[in-house]
Symmetry: C2
Subunit: 377 residues, 2 copies
């Protein structure tokens, strides 16, 4: 990483080797502050998701901006963050025992502020037993399913499971998690608002009944970028697990928001990919060096943000290539000409690279490792 | 890598941490031999594509099985192979100058048997100049477009460009490359045969006219797994750039072949992904720990190959999760239960992992690094 940094610091972004990922650090900082301010004004806390950026540098920036901790989806991501000295990590997916016992117990030992979710008796029992054997104690949240059906216990069974877990030694049930992933990308803001509040208010009832049953209840975590200004209206919700707001991808830009029914512009696109022309022997399009392996094909197509001299549209052209079409002649385009694109779905695209070039005033100011890349286990 | 290897050697595959990629090494070896034998019997040579497996260990096995060299799509992949001592590498995509000049010239210097493709006067001139300045000489192929339109020069302009390049100092034009990616997955074997032969015979005419114009012509390379037994009928074709045959993914298994109009079974699925249940609170499905970030969403859905007690079907369930559905009750399924899947599109899926577990008789016998992973530049 030091080598990469030394070689490129000060270089203009359009002189970088391609394909590569760029972060506009001014926009990133603005996005971090906009979200933190909005959430603080609503008397909630921020527990942003590191699965989006997969970068311990950004996780640290989020904490320095006021976040109470960070989320990861997988144990492997949490291991890297902990190694980098990040604390108060919540792993938002079940970490299954005995499969991952050695790794998980090692992490609990190294990282006292780690928090886990549980959605079954069997796993709760195993976790309690394993912690007991090592004389450790761990904070847990009950994962409550707000209608997505992916992980979590249904509202109707949550009280029973919550009571069961509260009785187990070595586990401290601090509250619940309720993440409604299915509503985050609903295009209509009003419809999204209605659906999200329905789901989250049902989760709130569960939360209250668990508190009545003796749960500490200092944490009720949930929400995503698509509902960041909706779920704050859920009275008992304590913190938001937003992820994509740091970068804002094309997929999120295309949904309605409180300010504009057709787009979501409060956060600015801070992540782009640079790709360059490898072949230009055709009429009306050129072939560029970013394909499926450099941009994840999901959630629509990348949008060309540079050059802006005319309209360009991107299309997929195999594992290693993209096709950029335009009307009119080739003009100044040639092999090596650079395009900058806003990726369609940021999370899995970030996971294809090893580092970000950090850009300020169009020049490289730093290189950050994507150190959680590939940590899917 | 040594650490990973020491920890898992001898372990049963269904006791590995998930998600992870498995190679059935018996099947892999069989696929390597089947292809090599078929191509040798047709009096052609094999120059297999490393973009599929992204693994220098497998590249070496291919050479040991009889391949005359290996292909890579990108300069970054070739750099890693060269570092591992692999020779006779052909980079099948244009490596653009001056953008990648330092890296490319460094590689030419270190790897005398490197071969490049060219599809424009400008790039040929630059390459000739740069090589001249360093007093180096490099082997090149003219990239001829057999109708895909992605890279390469059209048949009608190939002779003119070929003559131009042959005149340039420090470049040695050994022949042509013609890769018809657009026909590889045509479901009907007969239609695929017809289309491929049309395209490749047009390329052969170009090849002959270039030879008549003085080109050495010891190389005419092309073809993919979908046309491996079709393009061998093109008289002048010297070698085949097949890639996917090593692993055979679900996408290729579903096209017709010479032996069976509905499936392509000559090569056996050698690559699988292991995923385990993280949540099972629903009726009729469980949630597993492999999603978009562990299996590339392209070319259909992964197929469940284990367990085989009933029919299971996979569906996508977000960046980190998959949904495996079945009819009937949960049965013995629980958190931690393991599924083995044949991935839909092997190339971009391999690119999501850092290593393969190598399996023989259901047990881990080795761990191979995916050392070309992420080398997209």
């Amino acid at each position: 990483m030091e080598n990469v940094r030394d070689n490129v610091t000060g270089r203009h972004k359009y002189e970088l080797d391609t394909p590569c990922l760029l972060i506009d650090v001014g926009r990133l900082r603005k996005n971090l502050h906009t979200m933190q301010k909005s959430v603080t004004l609503s008397d909630k806390k921020l527990r942003p998701h590191a699965k989006t950026h997969k970068c311990s540098v950004i996780a640290r920036m989020q904490i320095e901006t006021g976040a109470v901790g960070v989320c990861t989806a997988k144990l492997g991501e949490a291991e890297v963050l902990a190694e980098r000295g990040i604390e108060h990590i919540l792993i938002t997916g079940p970490v299954v025992l005995p499969l991952k016992a050695d790794r998980l117990l090692g992490l609990i030992e190294r990282c006292g502020s780690l928090m886990l979710v549980l959605d079954s008796r069997e796993q709760a029992l195993l976790l309690s037993e394993y912690c007991g054997e090592r004389d450790m104690r761990v904070d847990v949240l009950l994962d409550v399913d707000p209608g997505l059906g992916r992980t979590g216990v249904s509202a109707s069974k949550a009280l029973e499971l919550g009571r069961f877990i509260m009785e187990l030694p070595n586990l401290h049930v601090r509250g619940i998690q309720a993440y409604a992933g299915q509503v985050q990308h609903i295009a209509s803001y009003e419809e999204r608002r209605k659906k999200s509040l329905e789901n989250m208010q049902r989760a709130q009832e569960t939360f209250r009944s668990l508190c009545d049953a003796g749960m500490d209840g200092d944490i009720f975590t949930g929400a995503g970028t698509g509902t960041f200004d909706i779920d704050t209206q859920v009275e008992d919700l304590t913190d938001l697990q937003v992820g994509s707001y740091v970068f804002m991808d094309a997929e999120y830009r295309n949904i309605g928001s409180a300010l504009d029914p057709r787009s979501f512009t409060l956060f600015e696109p801070a992540l782009t990919i640079l790709t360059s022309v490898v072949s230009c022997n055709q009429q009306g399009f050129v072939t560029v060096d970013a394909g499926l392996k450099s941009m994840y094909r999901d959630g629509g197509k990348p949008m060309v943000s540079y050059p802006a001299d005319r309209e360009y549209s991107f299309d997929w052209f195999g594992d290693e290539y993209g096709k950029i079409s335009f009307s009119g002649k080739m003009g100044t385009l040639k092999q090596g000409s650079v395009f900058e694109l806003i990726v369609s779905h940021c999370d899995p695209t970030v996971n294809l690279f090893d580092h970000f070039y950090v850009i300020e005033d169009d020049r490289v100011v730093d290189v950050w490792p994507i150190d959680l890349r590939g940590k899917s286990a």
